[in-house]
């Protein structure tokens, strides 16, 4: 079994710059009347408002049917008609298609280094032999179902090509399921938990839009080049990237229970990242990302210019900032950092699939009804919401990858653990899915987080939180506390084979002195710890909250998630020195060619 190490990552620049992968998104979309909006539609604001309204209406329009759903249903019925009466009868089947239409444009220091558009469709077939109580998946932990055998299928909705591919996959999957069922029933097993929950069939077919992502490629490329050229103003910046990753993901699902689902989500990520060399030849990276469901909602060029200039200023400040020493003591986590903190140390430990694994440390499995967090804190997971205030939440979806409608899950109420994130694989007394079976595609879905939201009853203003930090520092005899302003991501380990530690990777960290000195920017530390001890140290929360949007990488691949939390005052955190990427030498010997000039 693979170790349950999870990471909160965004793969914005995955095709050309895999090293630039951990980015954050907290900026709310900005509108400006004085400059062109970023997106493709060059229209005035009044029209924009109207179109947003129309789109909002269209997005709720339900189609009566969909040609691809019809093809899948027809082939599924034809197969089930025979296989449900076979010697090894099938009791459940589903067919799934994931259609990903993607555009990636990547610029660096004013140059276009990658511009690709791809479209791919992959198909999955699930077959269950036996019955809901005992079937061929019995004792096969979801985490062991790595080989899901997704296969590419036609991009065009061509009945003979698509139905033939599903016929091929069904044949292969059925024969494998027969063998699995023989093995499952040959073993003596006293387990009473069912293998598959019964869920209400869902019929939800959206009007699927064929979106041409390449329509404004030239204009977007030119704009990203202009933006990344801003990094040329600083001689010491080695990398200055601006990238756009657009993805229209359409999922189709049909099952023999009667579910028919077709829904589409568009994701637009814009990221800016800079890399400067410090005096020891180590790279200091900084990232900022923006996420929107509509391209139009990304910030305009002027806003982005201002953000890039601010990022450059921070990079320059970090260049000469002192390296922090390992520390143990009080700290404030900015809401984004707190969001990542909760995602890593709490969120992964309430994923039902993980808890059913005997290899998992099962931190909370037996703690339902018990206090697991300070009683002022509640946590819920809600994939049904697209926005919180004016912040788009990346973990939104309507149906999970088992065709179950997404549901809000109250995980912790007043510090008491109430629920887990469930798939159709039951866990003890949790015998229904709550729509959290998720996969990147190509792997078996397991329970994963969606939009994690942390709420606190007692909230302090930012100033009061800071005063509490200083008070706590004095109480502990510390000269300073830490303020973690921004993070690039984190990871944790939940299995039994290694310590259940977590690691949050901050990018902007200040020392807050108790003697009233100005805050001091420092660099080179990671926030570390173990989960249960950390929960006990949460002392207060701020009245301001923010969202971290990112991709979470775990057993079923990278899935989009968000984490929204208030700022937190923690009585005792621990830091360790960050691993530094050094060039083994100082800055480049020669100056950057033609500094300041973007291109011919």
């Amino acid at each position: 079994m693979m170790p349950c190490i999870t990471q909160l990552l965004i793969n914005v620049a995955m095709s050309s710059q895999p090293s630039t992968n951990s980015v954050i998104s907290t900026k709310k979309p900005k509108k400006s009347l004085n400059s062109k909006p970023f997106p493709q539609k060059q229209i005035d604001l009044r029209l924009a408002c109207l179109l947003v309204g129309i789109f909002a209406f269209l997005s709720t329009v339900r189609a009566q049917s969909n040609p691809l759903i019809d093809i899948l249903s027809k082939e599924l019925d034809r197969e089930f008609e025979v296989l449900s009466k076979a010697d090894d009868p099938v009791y459940y089947m589903d067919y799934q298609v994931m259609d990903v239409n993607q555009q990636i444009i990547h610029t660096n220091l004013g140059s276009l280094v990658n511009s690709t558009h791809s479209r791919r469709r992959t198909a999955n077939v699930n077959i269950r032999i036996g019955d809901y109580q005992r079937d061929n998946t019995h004792n096969v932990n979801e985490f062991n179902q790595q080989q899901f055998n997704a296969m590419p299928i036609a991009l065009e909705t061509n009945e003979q090509a698509i139905s033939h591919m599903f016929w091929t996959m069904t044949n292969i999957k059925y024969q494998a399921a027969v063998e699995e069922y023989r093995q499952a029933t040959a073993r003596e097993d006293k387990t009473t938990t069912a293998d598959f929950t019964k869920e209400k069939p869902e019929v939800y077919i959206e009007e699927i839009e064929e979106k041409d992502l390449t329509r404004d490629t030239d204009e977007i490329e030119a704009r990203l080049k202009r933006l990344s050229a801003l990094f040329l103003q600083n001689e010491n910046i080695i990398i200055g990237e601006v990238s756009l990753n657009r993805e229209v993901k359409t999922k189709y699902f049909v099952s023999t229970e009667g579910s028919k689902v077709a829904h589409q989500i568009e994701y637009n990520f814009l990221s800016i990242s800079g890399n400067i060399l410090d005096s020891e030849g180590a790279f200091i990276p900084l990232y900022q990302t923006y996420f929107a469901y509509d391209l139009d909602e990304l910030p305009d060029e002027e806003s982005l210019k201002a953000d890039i200039n601010r990022l450059i200023e921070t990079l320059v400040a970090l260049q000469s900032a002192p390296l922090a020493e390992p520390y143990s003591g009080p700290a404030i986590l900015h809401p984004r950092a707190a969001g990542v903190f909760f995602h890593e140390i709490f969120g992964h430990r309430i994923e039902g699939s993980r808890l059913s694994s005997e290899y998992d440390s099962q931190t909370f499995k037996e703690k339902v009804g018990e206090s697991v967090l300070p009683k002022s804190i509640s946590v819920y997971m809600d994939p049904t919401i697209k926005e919180l205030g004016d912040q788009a939440l990346l973990g939104h979806y309507l149906f999970d990858d088992e065709g179950v409608r997404a549901q809000k899950v109250n995980v912790v109420e007043g510090g008491i653990l109430k629920n887990f994130l469930m798939t159709r694989k039951p866990l003890d007394s949790f015998v229904s899915s709550n729509g959290h079976a998720r996969t990147e595609g190509g792997m078996a879905p397991v329970s994963r987080q969606s939009n994690l939201i942390v709420e606190a009853d007692r909230q302090l203003s930012e100033d009061d939180l800071r005063k509490q930090l200083i008070k706590e520092c004095k109480k502990q005899g510390k000269k300073y506390g830490y303020y973690f302003v921004d993070v690039e991501g984190g990871f944790t380990n939940t299995n039994r084979f290694s310590p259940n530690a977590f690691n949050i990777m901050p990018t902007v960290v200040y020392k807050v002195y108790v003697d009233g000195r100005p805050d001091e920017l420092v660099r080179g530390v990671d926030l570390i710890g173990t989960p249960l001890s950390m929960f006990a140290e949460i002392k207060a929360a701020s009245d301001h909250r923010a969202t971290f949007n990112g991709y979470c990488g775990a057993e079923s691949g990278n899935v989009p998630v968000s984490a929204t939390a208030p700022g937190l005052l923690v009585r005792r955190i621990e830091t360790q020195k960050k691993m530094r990427e050094t060039n083994e030498d100082e800055a480049p010997i020669l100056s950057r060619p033609l500094s300041g000039k973007a291109n011919d």
Binding site: S111, A154, L155, N158, N583
Partner: protein
Amino acid sequence: MIKKLTLSASLVVLLGFTTSGQDMLSTIERAMMDEMERNMTQLRSDKYSDPFFIRYRIIDQQNITVSASLGALHNSSEEPFRTKDIRVMVGDYEFNDESLDGDGMELDGKYPYGYADFTMPLGDDYYGIRRSLWITTDAIYKIAGQYYKDFLNDLEKDGKTYEDIDHKRFAKVPVVEYMEPVLKQPFSRKKLEDFVREASTLFVEYPDLLISSVRANSNVSTEYFLNSEGTRYRTSTLFANIDFTVSMINSEGEMSYETHNHELAPEDSLPSMEEVQKIVTGLVGKMLAKDSAERFVDSYYGPVLFEDETVSRLFSSYLINQLYASTQLESEGYYGGYNGGSHAMDDRIGQRVISKELSVTLLPTLTEWGGAALSGSYRIDSEGVMPADTLVLIENGILKNLMTSRTLTKETQVANGTGSGPGVALISTSEGSTKEALRQRLLELARKYDQEYAIIIREANEYGGLYDLSVVKVHVETGEEEVLRGANITDLGINNLKRILGISSSLMVENHGRTSYITPDALLLEDVGLSGRYNPQPKMKEALVKSPLVKSSIPEK
């Protein structure tokens, strides 16, 4: 694609296209020259010696790949991309940062880890191209400089000079300019899409195939080269092909595959649907024939007649790939540990290495042979060295020369423009026979050795390899042929080529990607071992539900 020809009386070497450097410089070339000039004159450090050699290669690719199955597109992409390849050397031609081997010293790839690379930009981006070259040149120079410094320090510590130890030299070669015009994509994406869509519909007639697909790829690769010695070149090549792939569950319950690769020369048009129909029929027929064949289960050791494409595969696998001069030091490296350099061939120059009936001649600049295009043809290698039109490697069995790059490990070695590979290899014979005569000779030998049958190998496997083969069992008494499948060659090596029992005088051409082989169409070897292939595949049964392509199988509602 195999094209059979008859041996010409003499070799005709065609001169390729060459121009002087009078043409207009492209943005890429200007950026390379300006950054080269700046680095060669200004890249200096107190810590390291100056660089004495820098080489820039930029490869600009325009690639279209489309595939379809049963009339529908599965994939369609058209993506430009550029890569860079930079070499910076410190020291001099006699002794430099690449002169010594040692544990963990991957000197062929002095690419540093953890440095902030700048991907080579697309388009006519003069400044961006220079910045991309700048940052990588800097990083590699520092590594090269450190290696060289370490070498000198260690030698000094040991009281030695480089002359006291085995080391590699960097060959001095003539400065040349060779500029080819930049090729354009011969096919539009839409044209290829339409083609694969239509071609793939022909498989609808075979509903029981598990998978069928037609994939077309057209890649125009333009390579820009400049080194600090003044050599520069620009080459532009097209590699276009169409792959046909089918898969089915065979009678033993295994998934079996069959492919057909149809290569396209620059002037070729896409095959007509009549031609495609023949390919499809042949491919499916071949797979069905293979399925109906019995499995080869014997352990065979005796004479084997290699025919058609298997001859070039044999020479490629067992001879040509051994004719490279070693780029590794023969003795234990100065730093101990790694000693990967086998100089077996270097030491056998002047000796007989294969049958005296065989000669191996490289004809790298030859572009066609009897009307067949040679995809391996090239005018300059990837180190900027122009090969001679003719380079004899083996003459009547005697090893005369080896393919040698600019990295020299022996005093006798000379860079000969073959660092990138053989290009076009002609394997010829002084005394040829006919294929039929070789077949008779095979049977005679089998009789002599009291064998019930002899073996002929006519086809490589679907991947072009000499394993999991279909072989022909020829019964000695009756002369009847029986096709068997799943045979592996277990005993065959270059020494088998020392004693050749017969060779055909008829030559054929086969292109293996960027290498072309002109070989006899039959070769009889003795003492070749074969055995049945171990097959651990899970067994599958016929589908309970009929293929949806069988219209009558769809139940009435």
